[in-house]
Symmetry: C2
Subunit: 125 residues, 2 copies
């Protein structure tokens, strides 16, 4: 039988988010409907953790929090919003591809600069 709930500290360790940030994400509706135990302590489910990991992915790929809140809001409306969520995600996919292209371009220029410095070092160093 696999464990089905996690305390805020456990989720913090699993996700790398601090307990402060986990409460903050709930306050701004990035994550919703977290259960509570008899003391009012948060109890996160497996699917809550999976959702947090997805949020982290969106953040690390540059999605602004407002857009993530929009996504979370669609998700809470249920199955009827699947298409809108897919479209939002496809838009974001294009943003990531564009970031990748920009980074490659920058990388090339920086490599050129490094080569330039190496030549300077050979000439004068």
């Amino acid at each position: 039988m696999t464990k089905t709930t996690y305390t805020i500290q456990e989720v913090s360790q699993l996700t790398g988010l601090t307990a402060h940030t986990l409460r903050y994400y709930e306050k701004i509706s990035l994550i919703r409907g977290i259960e509570r135990d008899a003391n009012g302590y948060r109890l996160y489910s497996e699917s809550d953790v999976a959702w947090l990991e997805f949020l982290i992915r969106l953040r690390e790929t540059g999605m602004p929090i407002q857009e993530m809140i929009r996504f979370s809001s669609l998700r809470s409306e249920g199955e009827t919003t699947v298409r809108q969520r897919r479209e939002l995600l496809e838009l974001h996919e294009r943003s990531i591809r564009s970031q990748l292209a920009d980074l490659y371009c920058h990388l090339g220029k920086i490599e050129e600069k490094i080569i330039h410095y190496k030549q300077l070092e050979e000439e004068h160093g």
Copy 2:
């Protein structure tokens, strides 16, 4: 004869940085030794503009401003710091490659999610 100096507005248009940001970059020593005309107005040279474009590249690849200031400081010390600048740049190159790898990984996961949504749409939509 090619134009050799630019006003702050011209540099703003060339680089996309606002005049405010250009003054700010000078205040924090990201760019140094900008000439002045008789009225005390800034006069940027071609090489100032090239340096700004390099700074923009560093920033767009995630280098923190403190590290950019360090780079600018080394540059102002002259030729003897070429090696240190190259090393700093090589460190940054590795950072960019790591960003690229992470982005690719995230992209893959997001594509999977999109496929998952498409399946949901076929089943229930």
